[in-house]
C-alpha cells in the first residue's frame, strides 16, 4: 500500500500542461490584439508571455518525461496520426491554389506571374532539404546504435541545412515581394505565399523539435532506450521534406509556367 501512495503522487499530476495551455490561450489573444483590437503593445506582451510559458512548459514537460516517465513506444503511432491531419491542412491550401489556377488560367498566365520567378532557387532548396532528410536519418541510425556523439553531429548538420533553407527562402520572398508580387496581389500571390509560408512554418517547428532532441541527447537523457520522441521528430522532418516537393512543384512549376 505504501507503494501505491508513492505511485499515486507520481503519476496523476504534472504541473507542465497548464502553463502550456495558458500560452496556447495567450497567443491567439495576442494575434487578436494586434489585428483586431489594434493594441500592438498588448499584443507584444501577451505574445511574449505566451511564448515564454510554452517554452518553459514544454521543456519542463520533456524533462519530466525523461526523468520519471516510461517510454511505452506509443509515440510513433501518435506522430503518424498527427501527420495525417497535417496533410489535410496542406490539402486545403492546395485546393485553393489549384481551383484558382484552373478557373482563372487566362489572367493567371497573362498577368499574374512575376518576372523574377526562377526555378533554380526551388531546385537548390530541394537539394538542401533532401540532403537534410538523409542526415537526420543517419542521426537516427547513430542514436539507435548508441553513438551519441555521431548523432549529435548529424543533427547539427541537419539543423544547419534547415536554417539555410529558411534563410534562403525568406530572402527569396523579400526579393519577390519587392518586385510587387505580394500576398495581396492576386490568387497566385495569395496561394504562393500561403503554401510556401505554411511549409516554412513547419520547417521551423521541425527545427525546434530537433533543438529539443539535441538538448536531451547532449544531457544523456535521450538514448537508444528512450528515443521514441526522436523517432517522431525524424518522421516529422521526413514529412516536411516530402511535402516540400508538392509545395514547390505547385507554387513554382504549376503556378509559374506560362501554359
Amino acid at each position: 500500500m505504501a507503494h501505491e501512495v508513492a505511485h499515486h503522487g507520481e503519476h496523476e499530476v504534472s504541473i507542465w500542461p497548464l502553463p502550456v495551455g495558458v500560452g496556447v490561450l495567450l497567443i491567439p489573444l495576442a494575434i487578436t490584439a494586434f489585428f483586431a483590437w489594434k493594441a500592438p503593445l498588448a499584443a507584444l506582451l501577451a505574445g511574449g508571455v505566451g511564448l515564454a510559458l510554452i517554452i518553459v512548459g514544454a521543456t519542463g514537460w520533456a524533462y519530466e518525461f525523461f526523468t520519471k516517465g516510461h517510454d511505452e513506444g506509443h509515440g510513433w503511432i501518435a506522430i503518424f496520426f498527427f501527420i495525417i491531419s497535417e496533410i489535410i491542412i496542406f490539402g486545403t491550401m492546395f485546393v485553393a491554389f489549384w481551383m484558382a489556377r484552373v478557373n482563372h488560367a487566362e489572367v493567371w498566365v497573362n498577368s499574374w506571374i512575376p518576372e523574377g520567378l526562377s526555378l533554380s532557387i526551388p531546385a537548390f532548396l530541394t537539394l538542401v532539404l533532401w540532403a537534410s532528410s538523409f542526415t537526420i536519418w543517419r542521426a537516427e541510425v547513430a542514436l539507435e546504435q548508441g553513438s551519441r556523439s555521431k548523432a549529435t553531429t548529424y543533427i547539427l548538420i541537419t539543423m544547419a541545412l534547415g536554417i539555410l533553407f529558411t534563410v534562403m527562402h525568406v530572402s527569396e520572398w523579400v526579393h519577390l515581394w519587392h518586385q510587387g508580387f505580394t500576398l495581396m496581389s492576386n490568387m497566385y500571390g495569395t496561394g504562393f505565399y500561403a503554401l510556401t509560408g505554411i511549409h516554412t512554418s513547419h520547417v521551423i517547428v521541425g527545427l525546434i523539435l530537433q533543438a529539443y532532441a539535441l538538448m536531451f541527447i547532449l544531457s544523456g537523457k535521450m538514448n537508444e532506450k528512450k528515443m521514441t520522441m526522436f523517432s517522431a521528430t525524424v518522421a516529422y522532418w521526413h514529412f516536411v521534406d516530402i511535402m516540400w516537393l508538392l509545395v514547390a512543384s505547385t507554387a513554382y512549376v504549376v503556378g509559374g509556367l506560362h501554359i
Partner: protein, 534 residues
C-alpha cells in the same frame, strides 16, 4: 479479484492542486463534463432569449444585433461545447475503464487538450464583452464574415482553432489508447459499441478538423491581411469556404451522433438484458457511416450554384447513408424484441433518443433530395431537422449516459422518480418546441431572422415553440437536479447496479485511482453487452 482492489482515494477527495495539475483521465473527464454542461446552459439561456423575442412579430426585447449574436454563439456552443465536447467527457472517463487500462496513452497531452478546450471557452466568453460580438452565424460564410459589420471574426477563427486543436489532441490520444492498450481478450469485434462510437468519432475529427482549420485560417487572412482566397475579383472563390467548411462540418454531425449511438447501444442492451442484436453489423454500420459521411457534404450547398452532377452524386450518397443508419435502428429494435426490458431512467432516455433520431433522420432524407431541399433550404424546416437529431437524439443520449454511468462516476444512485420526471418533461417540451419548426418551415418561414410578418398561423406556431422551450428548459433543470441530488444524498451505489457485463462495472464505484492495479483478465467469450455473467 474485485475485493482485492483497495480504494485509497476516490477522485472527488482530491485537493485543489491535484485537480488543476491532474493528468488522471477520470478527473479530466469530469472537468470536460462540467465545462460542457456550463456552456450548454449558457447556450440554452441564449436560446430562451431568442424564443422570447420570437413570441410576437416585431422587435420586443432583443435588438437585431443582439439576436444575431445570440444565434451565432448559441450555434457554436451547442455544437462545439455540447454535442462534441460532452463526448470528450464520456470518452475520457470511460475508454480506459472499458479497455482495462490504467490511463490514456498520453496523460499529459490529455491535460493539455483540456486546457486548450478551456482556452477556447475563455475566447467564447470574451465575445460577451460589447464590441467583441460575433454575428455571422456559426457557419461564418464569407463575404459577410470578412466584413467588419459582422463582428470580431478573429475570435470566431480562434474558437475553431482552439476547439479543433483540443479535439485533435484528444483524437490522437484516444485512438492510440484504443489501438494499443486494450487488455488481452478485448478485440475489434468484442469491444463496447461505445468504443467503436468514440473511435470513429475521433477518426473523423482527425481527418476533418484540418479542413475547417484551413478554411478559417484563410478567412482570417482575407479579413485582416488582405489575401484573396474568397475574393472573386482577384481569382478567389467564396464557395471554396463552403466546401472546406462542410467537408468537416457534415462529418462533424457524425462526430456528435456516433458516440450517442454508442451510448444508446450500451444502455439498450443492458436494460433489455440481452446482448446487442447483430453486433457485427452494428460495428460495420458505425464505420460505414463514418466513411460515407465524408462523401455527402455538398447537400448543404444545393443552392450555392455547384454543378448538377455534384448535386446528383451527393444526393445519392446522402440517401445511401440512411442504410447503415437504418441498420442500427433495426438492431436496437431487434435487441428489445423479447428482451426483459427494465424501464429505468437511462433506458427511457435511450428509447426517447432512438425515436427522436428516427424523426430527425426521416426529415434529413428529403433534405438530401435537391428537388425538395431547394424549396426548404435555410428555412425552419432545416432548423427542425437538426434540432430533432441534435437537440433531442444527442441530448437525450447524453443525459441517458449521465444517468447510466452516474453511479459509477459518483458512487451514488440518482433519484429514479426525479429522473423519470425529467425525461418526460424534456421529451414533451422538446417536441412542443421542435415539431412546429418543421411546420412553420414548410410554410415558408426562413431561419435566422429575428422578426416575421404578421401571419396568424405563424404567430401561433412561434408561440407554441416558445412555451415548449421553457418546458424543455425546466426539464433539463430537473434532470440536473436529479443528478446533483443523487450525488449529495443518494444511496451508495454497488459496483454493478445494472448487472452489466461490461468491464467498467467490474470496478468499485467510484473507481480507484489506478482503475486496474493488475491488467484485468476477461473470460474467453467476453462480450461487453448483455446480461452479467461474471
Amino acid at each position: 479479484m474485485r475485493e482485492a482492489i483497495h480504494i485509497e482515494k476516490p477522485w472527488f477527495s482530491a485537493s485543489l492542486k491535484e485537480w488543476i495539475f491532474t493528468t488522471d483521465h477520470k478527473k479530466i473527464g469530469i472537468m470536460y463534463g462540467i465545462t460542457s454542461l456550463v456552456f450548454f446552459i449558457v447556450g440554452g439561456i441564449m436560446a430562451l432569449g431568442m424564443r422570447v423575442e420570437l413570441f410576437n412579430p416585431g422587435t420586443q426585447h432583443v435588438s437585431p444585433d443582439t439576436y444575431n449574436y445570440f444565434l451565432t454563439v448559441h450555434g457554436a456552443l451547442m455544437l462545439l461545447w455540447w454535442a462534441i465536447g460532452i463526448w470528450g467527457a464520456f470518452a475520457n472517463f470511460l475508454i480506459p475503464l472499458m479497455i482495462g487500462a490504467r490511463d490514456v496513452a498520453f496523460p499529459r497531452l490529455n491535460a493539455l487538450g483540456y486546457w486548450t478546450f478551456f482556452a477556447a471557452s475563455v475566447i467564447a466568453l470574451i465575445t460577451l464583452i460589447p464590441g467583441n460580438q460575433i454575428m455571422h452565424m456559426w457557419t461564418g460564410y464569407p463575404p459577410y464574415s470578412a466584413n467588419p459589420n459582422s463582428g470580431l471574426t478573429a475570435l470566431f477563427v480562434f474558437i475553431w482553432h482552439l476547439t479543433g486543436a483540443a479535439s485533435i489532441m484528444g483524437a490522437i490520444n484516444f485512438l492510440t489508447t484504443v489501438v494499443r492498450m486494450r487488455a488481452p481478450g478485448i478485440g475489434f469485434f468484442n469491444m463496447n459499441l461505445f468504443l467503436h462510437g468514440v473511435s470513429s468519432m475521433n477518426l473523423i475529427q482527425l481527418l476533418g478538423i484540418p479542413s475547417i482549420a484551413g478554411a478559417v485560417t484563410m478567412l482570417f487572412l482575407d479579413t485582416y491581411v488582405g489575401t484573396n482566397f474568397f475574393n472573386p475579383a482577384k481569382g478567389g472563390d467564396p464557395i471554396l469556404y463552403q466546401n472546406l467548411f462542410w467537408f468537416y462540418s457534415h462529418p462533424a454531425v457524425y462526430v456528435m451522433v456516433l458516440p450517442a449511438f454508442g451510448v444508446i447501444s450500451e444502455i439498450v442492451s443492458t436494460f433489455a438484458r440481452k446482448p446487442i442484436f447483430g453486433y457485427k453489423s452494428m460495428v460495420v454500420a458505425i464505420w460505414a457511416i463514418a466513411l460515407v459521411g465524408f462523401m455527402v457534404w455538398t447537400h448543404h450547398m444545393f443552392v450555392s450554384g455547384i454543378p448538377d452532377w455534384v448535386k446528383i452524386l451527393m444526393s445519392y450518397t446522402t440517401v445511401l447513408i440512411g442504410v447503415p443508419t437504418g441498420i442500427k435502428i433495426f438492431n436496437w429494435v431487434g435487441t428489445l424484441y423479447r428482451g426483459a426490458v427494465v424501464y429505468k431512467t437511462p433506458m427511457l432516455y435511450a428509447l426517447g433518443a432512438i425515436l427522436m433520431f428516427l424523426i430527425g433522420g426521416l426529415t434529413g432524407i428529403p433534405l438530401g433530395l435537391p428537388a425538395f431541399d431547394i424549396a426548404v433550404h435555410d428555412s425552419y424546416f432545416v432548423v427542425g431537422h437538426f434540432h430533432y437529431v441534435l437537440g433531442m437524439a444527442v441530448t437525450l443520449a447524453a443525459f441517458g449516459g449521465f444517468f447510466y454511468w452516474w453511479p459509477k462516476v459518483t458512487g451514488r444512485m440518482y433519484s429514479e422518480a426525479l429522473g423519470k420526471l425529467s425525461f418526460w418533461t424534456i421529451i414533451v417540451g422538446s417536441n412542443v418546441l421542435y415539431f412546429p419548426q418543421l411546420i412553420v418551415g414548410l410554410s415558408g418561414m426562413p431561419r435566422r431572422y429575428y422578426d416575421y410578418p404578421v401571419i396568424g398561423e405563424w404567430i401561433t406556431l412561434h408561440q407554441i415553440q416558445t412555451v415548449g422551450a421553457f418546458v424543455l428548459a425546466f426539464g433539463i433543470l430537473l434532470g440536473i437536479i436529479a443528478l446533483i441530488k443523487g450525488t449529495l444524498s443518494g444511496e451508495k451505489a454497488p459496483a454493478n447496479p445494472w448487472m452489466s457485463n461490461s468491464l467498467e462495472w467490474r470496478l468499485p464505484s467510484p473507481p480507484p485511482p489506478h482503475n486496474f492495479d493488475e491488467p484485468p483478465k476477461v473470460e474467453k467469450d467476453y462480450c461487453p453487452h448483455g446480461y452479467c455473467k461474471f
